[in-house]
Point group: C2
Chain length 334, copies 2
């Protein structure tokens, strides 16, 4: 008689080929793919003669806890954070490569759910993009390293360095919600120091929403190309906190970014301002636009000025832009 574990084998008890076949069966065909997974490398169309490429990794411990994130959540988030980096250049994501390092005791169903998360995040956030390749190895620690590729479709890449005095500073997507969600996890779903499963019935609607943004973010991927078409002078995704990331844009552009509390309050709808400024992982798009060119989907949060002593000001005052640094904040406790 088959036991439950026979139906859902451990990765260590089956062959690499079996795992790969299970993943591929849950992977959508790639619209832009000339040659899909299964050979030494994939071949992806790059119609505009260049390819946008970025890499970001989720590691068990600093980036997630197994008790809090399902396989589906992890696949979704690993896709979303990489898609956001492609979008932030003004490009359209076309393909992902996923390098998965998994412990031997991992259940096949967990890896299958991860493949589902990758597929659905692409389908919902960046239609036409899908997993075109990757690799699988064993590890004592679960790690998901993703490379995302994209196409500029003739647009010039929007860097962090083009913001000009007089531009409007704008944001699309969430701000502070992911940090609020992380605080909920650390504050409410631990037994001592040990993460425990999330009981959503303990959370009100706003808290559930914050948790969703933390575990399964939905950055406004399509707005990246929209912003580039509208004439964005600089753009980046907000992964390490608005204050820190804005300071990076200000430094790269040689300007000061002056943010407004009133504008931020209107945008975050009640999330604590320090969390909105310091909290990372929302992966919204921060962009600057010449006056009168900001497209729908973005909301103004400040203005670009000539460079002052500080790169970022809030209501005219310097602010602490500590942000998120995995080398200092590896325990995730913001």
């Amino acid at each position: 008689m088959a036991s439950a574990s026979d139906d859902d084998p451990r990765i260590g008890d089956i062959s690499e080929g079996t795992v790969l076949r299970a993943i591929l069966a849950r992977t959508a065909p790639a619209a832009h793919s000339v040659l899909g997974p299964g050979d030494d490398a994939a071949v992806l169309a790059a119609p505009s003669g260049s390819v946008v490429a970025t890499a970001d990794t989720l590691v068990s411990g600093p980036d997630f806890r197994a008790a809090w994130s399902s396989g589906y959540d992890l696949g979704w988030k690993a896709a979303a954070v990489n898609l956001a980096d492609v979008a932030a250049m003004g490009a359209v994501p076309t393909g992902l490569l996923v390098s998965l390092a998994v412990p031997l005791e991992t259940r096949l169903s967990f890896v299958e759910q991860m493949a589902d998360g990758f597929r659905e995040a692409c389908a919902q956030l960046a239609p036409g993009c899908s997993v075109i390749g990757g690799d699988l190895t064993v590890s004592e620690l679960l790690m998901i390293a993703v490379t995302a590729l994209g196409d500029l479709g003739g647009r010039t890449a929007v860097t962090r360095a083009g913001a000009r005095p007089g531009d409007v500073v704008a944001l699309a997507g969430d701000l502070g919600a992911a940090a609020a969600g992380l605080a909920l996890l650390f504050g409410r779903f631990r037994d001592g120091e040990t993460p425990i499963a999330v009981d959503r019935s303990m959370l009100d609607a706003a808290e559930q929403r914050a948790l969703d943004v933390q575990l399964r973010p939905s950055p406004p991927i399509a707005l990246g190309a929209v912003a580039a078409d509208a004439g964005a002078t600089a753009m980046m995704d907000v992964s390490d906190g608005l204050a820190l990331d804005a300071s990076r844009m200000a430094d790269a552009s040689g300007v000061t970014i002056a943010l407004s509390t009133t504008a931020l309050d209107a945008l975050t709808g009640g999330i604590d301002i320090s969390r909105a400024i310091g909290g990372g992982e929302d992966h919204g798009l921060l962009a600057t636009f010449p006056l009168g060119t900001m497209p729908n989907g973005f909301r103004p949060i400040g203005v670009v000025t000539d460079r002052a002593a500080d790169g970022v000001l809030l209501d005219g005052e310097p602010i602490e832009h500590r942000g998120w640094d995995p080398y200092r904040d590896w325990d995730g406790s913001l």
Copy 2:
């Protein structure tokens, strides 16, 4: 007074920005890069309108031991194994993305050596290719996930599926040497089960050569495009052992690959035939060519025949093609 550790800080004691700057200072400018590291994503030229993309990861434990591999070795090997996958499609490598997960106690110098290894492997194996992006995170376990991108330059990608009866089966690069090197490490450089530093003075010239192939492989990257230009009908890199990889090519092509012991002996120069057939990690190029078209640098090892019961034969007999499977062989003991 500064101590040695002040001169070589632990990763956990310095900022992510400091580490990234140290890495970038050791990274060569990318010949094909439109926009290099430092923004949300890099932009790489893809002049032929498509991009070849592949990913492969080295994880501490299954793929390497810190006692045996220097930072330089690891950077070199992580580059080489990925460059080989690009070459195996008939493409020229143009850029690498490197995702590094490092323990907090890692010394900065170790990461710098890794950057040197990446740079030098690219310079020597695939001139013009360099690291164009990546990311850095902390982890309890050292992991190096690499994505390699390449350009076909107008060539059609050479898959595993095109081998035809009558073709010559050929190999370029090492065969069995990496496995011999791995056996040396496990056999001679352990204290009980614990890996210890390699003392090269204990090794003769052939052993030192095998160790070099294991720790710092030099696949014939440039021969990938040469093979494609010569009309290779199928190609792949031999990462999991000749017998297993040849069986994959045979299955994909619907043919049988008939290998010759005499030809293999001539090629390996004394390495045990079972190691030449079963050992992985050499990352040589296995290719099939129509009669009379095999280019210099490749050596014949067999012929393609109509599909027989077995996909791979050695001197007309079926062979065990166990090969290397990280899910079964994670302790590295071939």
